[in-house]
């Protein structure tokens, strides 16, 4: 029992620190850094002490009693925590590194604008991290996972008055979003697979797992693949690698903690956590090995050709994680964990000392200079050699690939809906939507084939709405409304699908309505104030003048994208639980809605409130700075 309290303490201690920093004034450097330092220091020593105690007492995995967050006749949302060797390692590594980084940043960040924001975000991240590594089921893990995404976004866009950090933050967020959907779909799949909320502890029941796998090989494979997508996205594996160096826009210690050590190794964590599930499936093992191997090769070549130190460290690290994936697929779990710890420490340190590289290497050059020679990779001939070099320099086109394959199609379809404007959208929306509900009320009178297709139809419309929101440039309000409507159509789709009751519908839509309405008012207000600087063609940086409004709108954005601050978060999960295991198409529509919708929303926020300020009565950075 004592253990349970300690584990809960370990999870929620950072929240206390986080909330305390929020109470501090902008310039109370000393207080802010002390809160952060003591929070994480006590967390570190607490974790250390607990681990010793736990080891002495037999090191048995601990599953914390479930907390029911929501329950209806067909669905339960459980919060569940779990502690085992893996959690212990991840927890301790993070505590140690964060402990050092917080101390480091106390001096490093001195006099920097956003000192408070930095420490608050770090603590928030730290909370999210512990929440994730100690989670006991997918639902809990997903909450932490989402929070990590947001704290990442905030730290990459730390220098929010510049173009590049903001653009890259949106980019990274988009990739994370793809990962999120992997988890969402995995949850959907496992819901149907186990007919129960599966905890990670239960996954260790080999007998149970074996029987389920034998029964549903395809679904199992699907779940595993979704997990792999999530893991690859989060850990910067092929084909998602290009976000990692682009995330290095914040202050160096934040890059070190996020992309050097902690955040980047989450994919590995997810795989190890779910290992009992995919390990028996050799196809999945092959896939994981393949992804890891490809990343290692791509990362290796790319790292070699890059002329900037942080890019190089990023790709070197990603390549190592690729190797960890390979190790894992071969079954060497312990090796992978040891490898993770070493890599985390090494990269953190390398990033922190990266500014020293100038004086160090110049001195090295001064004393040990060897004239520049061109050597070929392998005796492969010029053509292959040069081509490979060019590929490596361009990061194997992974960056362009992402937008080309994944985002451009959505943008294209969305732009077909250009006849919709802010003024006429209601004329289209209200009647069709009412029609959809009429169909639901009178479904007894409709032919079976129509009823059968209704969910997919509504889902497709929802997706169309979202795509329009994604491609909209002229009217931010329209884009916003489109996302709200998307949610309504999703609700309709699931209602048609049966089983969802009014109460559940309320859970889902209440968040949407509240966040949607407040956000809409925010936008109206901004449009009234700044009619000249109000579209989505470029970044406007209104945060410079409307900081509070920006903060409020950011909250609405989070609410509307199903972040765990409104009921919609649970609603999202609920919605999926009502999609039957055969409805792959609908599941695809819905998950695409959530991915693209989230990206569209964050983009509205970023373009209006972040980036170069449109007004030039103060010093303003160039796009390239």
């Amino acid at each position: 029992m004592l253990s349970n309290y300690i584990i809960l303490g370990l999870i929620f201690l950072p929240v206390v620190g986080f909330l305390l920093t929020l109470l501090c004034g902008e310039n109370q450097e000393k207080r802010i850094s002390q809160i952060a330092f003591y929070t994480i220091a006590s967390h570190f020593f607490g974790a250390l002490g607990f681990i010793v105690y736990w080891l002495v007492n037999g090191a048995m995995p601990i599953n914390l009693k479930e907390y029911i967050l929501y329950e209806s006749h067909s669905y339960v949302f459980l919060i569940d925590f779990y502690w085992d060797g893996l959690s212990a390692v991840y927890c301790l590594v993070a505590a140690f590194i964060s402990f050092l980084i917080v101390r480091y940043s106390r001096y490093y960040m001195h006099l920097e604008k956003g000192y408070k924001r930095f420490f608050s975000t770090i603590l928030f991240f730290y909370f999210a991290y512990n929440f994730t590594v100690l989670s006991g089921n997918f639902e809990t893990l997903f909450i932490g996972w989402e929070m990590i995404g947001i704290s990442s976004f905030l730290l990459i866009a730390f220098y929010r008055e510049r173009y590049l950090p903001v653009r890259n933050a949106v980019k990274v967020f988009s990739v994370y979003r793809i990962g999120d959907i992997g988890i969402l779909l995995a949850m959907w799949g496992s819901h149907h697979l186990w007919h129960d909320n599966i905890t990670f502890l239960k996954l260790h029941n080999t007998h149970l797992v074996a029987s389920v796998l034998a029964e549903h090989p395809l679904t199992s494979w699907f779940i595993g693949s979704c997990l792999l997508v999530a893991a690859a996205a989060k850990s910067g594996q092929f084909p998602f690698s290009s976000w990692v160096p682009r995330a290095m826009e914040g202050p160096t210690p934040s890059s070190a903690i996020f992309y050097g050590s902690l955040s980047i190794h989450f994919g590995l964590f997810l795989l190890i956590r779910t290992m009992p599930f995919w390990e028996p499936q050799w196809v999945l093992r092959l896939m994981i090995g393949f992804v890891g191997f490809t990343t290692a090769i791509v990362g290796y070549f790319t790292a070699k050709a890059q002329p900037t130190i942080k890019t190089q460290i990023a790709y070197a690290s990603v390549a190592q994680i690729g190797l960890m994936f390979v190790e894992l697929s071969l079954g060497f779990t312990t090796l992978a964990v040891v490898h993770f710890v070493g890599n985390a420490f090494l990269r953190t340190y390398q990033l922190l000392v990266s500014p020293s590289v100038v004086s160090y290497l110049i001195r090295e050059q001064f004393y040990h200079f060897r004239p520049y020679q061109t050597r070929q990779y392998f005796p492969l001939g010029k053509s292959i050699h040069y081509g490979l070099y060019l590929l490596a320099l361009r990061e194997f086109y992974l960056d362009t690939l992402m937008s080309k394959i994944i985002f451009n199609p959505f943008k294209k379809i969305g732009s077909r809906l250009n006849f919709l404007t802010y003024r006429n959208v209601f004329y289209y929306f209200v009647p069709t939507y009412l029609l959809g509900w009429l169909a639901w009320f009178f479904k007894a009178y409709l032919p079976a084939s129509v009823i059968y297709l209704m969910p997919e139809l509504a889902g497709a419309i929802a997706l169309l709405m979202i795509m329009k929101a994604f491609s909209e440039r002229e009217y931010p309000l329209l884009a916003w409304l489109m996302v709200v409507q998307g949610h309504f159509w999703i609700a309709l789709a699931v209602m048609h699908n049966d089983l969802m009751d009014w109460q559940e519908l309320l859970w889902y839509l209440s968040g949407v309505v509240v966040a949607g309405w407040v956000g809409w008012v925010c936008l109206l207000w901004l449009r009234k104030k700044e009619p000249k600087y109000f579209n989505l063609y470029r970044y406007y940086g209104h945060n410079y003048e409307y900081q509070r409004l920006g903060g409020l709108f950011f909250f609405c954005t989070l609410g509307l994208m199903g972040f765990p601050i409104t009921t919609t978060f649970i609603g999202e999960d609920l919605v999926f639980s009502h999609v039957s295991e055969k409805q792959f198409v609908l599941a695809f529509f819905l998950s695409s809605c959530f991915v693209i919708g989230g990206i569209a929303l964050i983009r509205i926020y970023a373009r209006l409130f972040l980036g170069n300020h449109a007004k030039v009565y103060h010093e303003n950075p160039l796009q390239s700075s």
Binding site: R162, P251, P355, Y389
Partner: protein, 834 residues
């Protein structure tokens, strides 16, 4: 600034020249030198230049209007001077109007600028963010081509130029498309490819070509400037890479066409000039006056003179000179550097010493080659081109330790597989250790490692060591010549004490890509230890003394010279060649060493008041320990404040300014007008003061007013690129100027040079050198002469010396400065010291 009309036709050579002229002139990091970032506008008067640069290129060149007003409201600006300067410049009848304008009137303070008018047509009309499409790849290409050691896989082609390298790369890698558009691919290999032909495709109207190129290049002034510098000074890269602005622009034009072709298809887009809908203001059209800039200029002057006025009054209040100069125990030469200002004060307080300030290369210009070094470093002001080489010999230990964290293997695949599982764990310990107990690491840049203290220097001329262009060592005559000038310029030609010190300086820091900015400006950013040691060695030489005696400088046999190095970050000192001292002098030296040490400790305490995280109530010794740690701490972005707060340069005898507390804000150059009646040596001094001190001052000034475009911004997110520069993140442009962390406490005011001499002499002297004259004439530096006999002041305005009457009458007197160190980090007023 060159004023010219846009030529109707495009002349490549002329346009490239203009670009070279206007692009930033910043060297690669290892040779980082403080310089005026608006150098290209220096042929205009200061305020006009600031208006022009702002109008054309969008720089913010003054403080915010609110900031000036707040300074006034908070009493940081003297109301009397406020009145005086407005009336002087605008006339008494305009006083009311301008007072209102300065204090109340609302202005549109937007930085409208002419840059980007053409380039943004791509965004606005074609809806193509062309910079986003092109920059990232362009920076990557040039970065890996120029790279000096970061990439593990070097650019695979050695060619005679950047363009040739790209052509070969493309030709030989057919399976990976370099460009997406086939047309561009063809263009690249066309034998007659030129900027003109590409601009024909892109822009299509010759009248706009030049302006288009300015838009394009100034969208990433950092990289373009770097290319321009390397083209003009290829030797600045240890591992040379032939590159030219022409090639760089050509490639960018190709990439732009490629981006357009890809988006619209070949032939489906019109050249830019066809879609110009609004009037384009030519970049270099005469700049219209803006009233708000007049207001800025007035505020700036008032702000500056509020400070200067106190200083000038203070100089007038110098105590009566004693008729016989008192005899001193020892004499010490320091660098002119503002960081030595306070150390000299502390030393003078503790010991009976006469200190002298002079440019820290001690008038010896040469290249230095440390033992084992494959290259030379310049040990004199950057504009000089020495013909001499000095070699270090017989060192005891090599100072270059290795650190596996920077090794290639750690960024390799299998290497780092092993390393991360082994050394990774060691990293954790090392990191923890470094954070809680900073110690020396191989990454440290330490001034003491510049030269081994036990080594010998080969500085005497030696026939058989010649290199192609450099002479190894100096002949006796050459030494005597340099030493004579040195001694005469500071006025020390008699009354030599038994011991005379030459104190060079350098700095230590870790994790600091801008480390070169912390060194000795008079030694090209290097450490001044070799120069100090050489000056001492030369003057200890019998043959040299004999020659000097013939020239009228008689140095007694008992006098000995000692070279030393002051580390300005850690406040430590190291003496060289102490073993040559005579027995009596050795005893004296021991005493003096104590004085130096104590002065350094006190100096550290004085400096600590600006280091906000140090508790200044602690004892000087404890604080000194903490100050030392700053140099070793990875997490300390401000190991020291470097030149921040610099504002003055006093050229005159030390006894005329030693009574003033100048708060480390002044460059101090010793100069005795009585021994140089015609100002022969004054010219040499001012010739160095203007570009070195003026350059430092203006770089700080502009980094304060616009840290995005004229400064490097916060250094916290910086990423090192190719060892030549830093950028934000991985896709950013190279940053120029000083980082935010260097200028946090700096007040942007120009340098005031005060010379102790007769105005007529000074006027004649400065007119002898046109470049130096321009600094003063255009008021990039203020110049005031103090007449040594009457203490009357003359301010140099528009080519003439006009009398200046300070408004300040009295200055606060302070007895014992110790209380000041514990109080605040603010700039302190000028005090008279008891």
């Amino acid at each position: 600034m060159i004023v010219y009309l846009t030529p109707p036709t495009f002349e490549q050579k002329v346009v490239l020249q203009h670009l070279h002229h206007y692009l930033p002139h910043q060297n690669p990091l290892k040779d980082f030198i403080n310089d005026n970032v608006l150098k290209s506008f220096q042929d205009l008067p200061f305020h006009e230049a600031l208006l022009t640069a702002s109008t054309i290129l969008g720089y913010k060149t003054y403080l915010y209007l609110n900031e000036y007003r707040a300074l006034y409201a908070n009493g940081k600006i003297n109301p009397l001077l406020f009145q005086k300067i407005i009336i002087d410049q605008k006339g008494i009848e305009q006083w009311d109007i301008w007072e209102k304008k300065l204090l109340e009137k609302d202005y549109d303070t937007s930085l409208y600028n002419r840059l980007g008018q053409l380039h943004q047509i791509w965004t606005n009309h074609y809806h193509l963010n062309i910079e986003k499409e092109v920059h990232s790849f362009l920076f990557r290409l040039i970065g890996s081509y120029i790279d000096q050691g970061i990439t593990l896989k070097k650019f695979p082609i050695k060619a005679n130029g950047f363009l040739e390298a790209i052509q070969q790369l493309d030709k030989n890698s057919r399976w990976i498309p370099f460009f997406r558009s086939k047309r561009v691919k063809k263009l690249l290999h066309e034998p007659h490819i030129s900027l003109q032909s590409l601009l024909d495709i892109l822009v299509g109207d010759e009248a706009f070509y030049e302006q288009y190129l300015f838009d394009q290049q100034f969208a990433h002034a950092g990289w373009s400037g770097m290319v321009s510098v390397i083209e003009n000074h290829p030797e600045t890269l240890l591992d040379p890479r032939p590159v030219s602005l022409h090639d760089f622009i050509l490639l960018e034009l190709l990439l732009e066409i490629d981006a357009l072709d890809t988006k619209f298809g070949v032939g489906n887009w019109e050249p830019l000039a066809k879609n110009i809908t609004t009037d384009i203001v030519p970049l270099f059209n005469p700049v219209e006056k803006r009233e708000v800039f007049e207001v800025y200029a007035l505020w700036q002057e008032i702000y500056e003179w509020t400070f200067y006025d106190q200083v000038l009054r203070g100089l007038q209040l110098a105590p009566q000179e004693a008729s016989i100069e008192k005899k001193t125990d020892f004499q010490a030469f320091f660098c002119i550097d503002d960081r030595e200002c306070s150390l000299r004060r502390h030393l003078e307080k503790i010991a009976n010493v006469a200190t002298f300030g002079t440019a820290g290369f001690f008038n010896i210009e040469f290249y230095f080659q440390p033992e084992g070094g494959k290259f030379y470093t310049k040990s004199c002001p950057a504009p000089l081109n020495p013909h001499y080489l000095v070699k270090e010999k017989n060192i005891r230990k090599h100072h270059h330790k290795r650190d596996a964290h920077f090794s290639r293997q750690s960024r390799n695949l299998l290497g780092s597989w092993v390393i991360s599982q082994t050394m990774g764990f060691w990293s954790a310990i090392e990191l923890a250790w470094n954070i809680f107990k900073p110690t020396e690491t191989p990454a440290l840049v330490s001034s003491f490692r510049h030269m081994d203290r036990h080594s010998t220097l080969q500085y005497e001329h030696c026939e058989n060591g010649e290199t192609q262009s450099l002479q190894v060592g100096f002949t006796n005559e050459e030494m005597a010549l340099r030493m004579e000038t040195l001694l005469r310029s500071v006025g020390l030609v008699e009354n030599f004490a038994s011991l005379v010190y030459f104190v060079g300086h350098g700095a230590s820091s870790v994790n600091n890509p801008h480390y070169a900015a912390y060194g000795c400006g008079a030694c090209s950013g290097q450490t001044g230890s070799v120069n100090a040691r050489l000056a001492a060695a030369m003057l200890n030489k019998k043959e040299v003394r004999k020659l000097l005696k013939e020239k009228g400088i008689d140095i007694p046999d008992s006098t000995q010279f000692v070279g030393a190095l002051h580390d300005t970050t850690q406040d430590e000192i190291l003496f060289y060649d102490e073993k040559i001292l005579s027995d009596e002098n050795r005893l004296r030296h021991k005493e003096h060493t104590k004085a130096f040490t104590e002065a350094l400790t006190n100096n550290a305490k004085e400096r600590s008041r600006r280091f906000l995280l140090i508790d200044t109530n602690k004892s000087a010794k404890k604080i000194h320990k903490q100050v030392k740690l700053r140099a070793l701490s990875l997490f300390e972005p401000r190991s020291e404040w470097d030149h921040a707060t610099n504002a003055l340069c006093i050229v005159g005898r030390r006894q005329t300014n030693a009574h003033l507390f100048l708060d480390r804000r002044s460059f101090l150059n010793s100069y005795d007008y009585r021994k140089d009646k015609e100002g022969k040596y004054l010219l040499g001094i001012l010739r160095a003061v203007a570009p070195v001190c003026g350059g430092i001052n203006l770089q700080y000034y502009f980094a304060c007013t616009d840290h995005y475009r004229l400064g490097a911004g916060s250094k916290l997110p910086h990423n090192v690129i190719g060892l030549v520069g830093v950028a934000n993140g991985i896709d950013g442009d190279l940053r120029i100027g000083l980082p935010q962390q260097s200028v946090d406490i700096h007040d942007p005011i120009r340098l005031l040079v005060v010379v102790e001499h007769f105005p007529a002499v000074v006027k004649e002297v400065i007119q002898k050198d046109l470049t130096t004259y321009q600094w003063f004439e255009n008021e990039w530096i203020h110049l005031v002469v103090i007449q040594p006999e009457t203490k009357q002041l003359f301010r140099f305005t528009k080519g003439n010396f006009l009398p200046y009457e300070p408004i300040t009458q009295t200055l606060p007197t302070i007895n014992g400065l110790e209380n000041l160190w514990t109080n605040s980090g603010e700039n302190l007023p000028i005090y008279l010291m008891q």
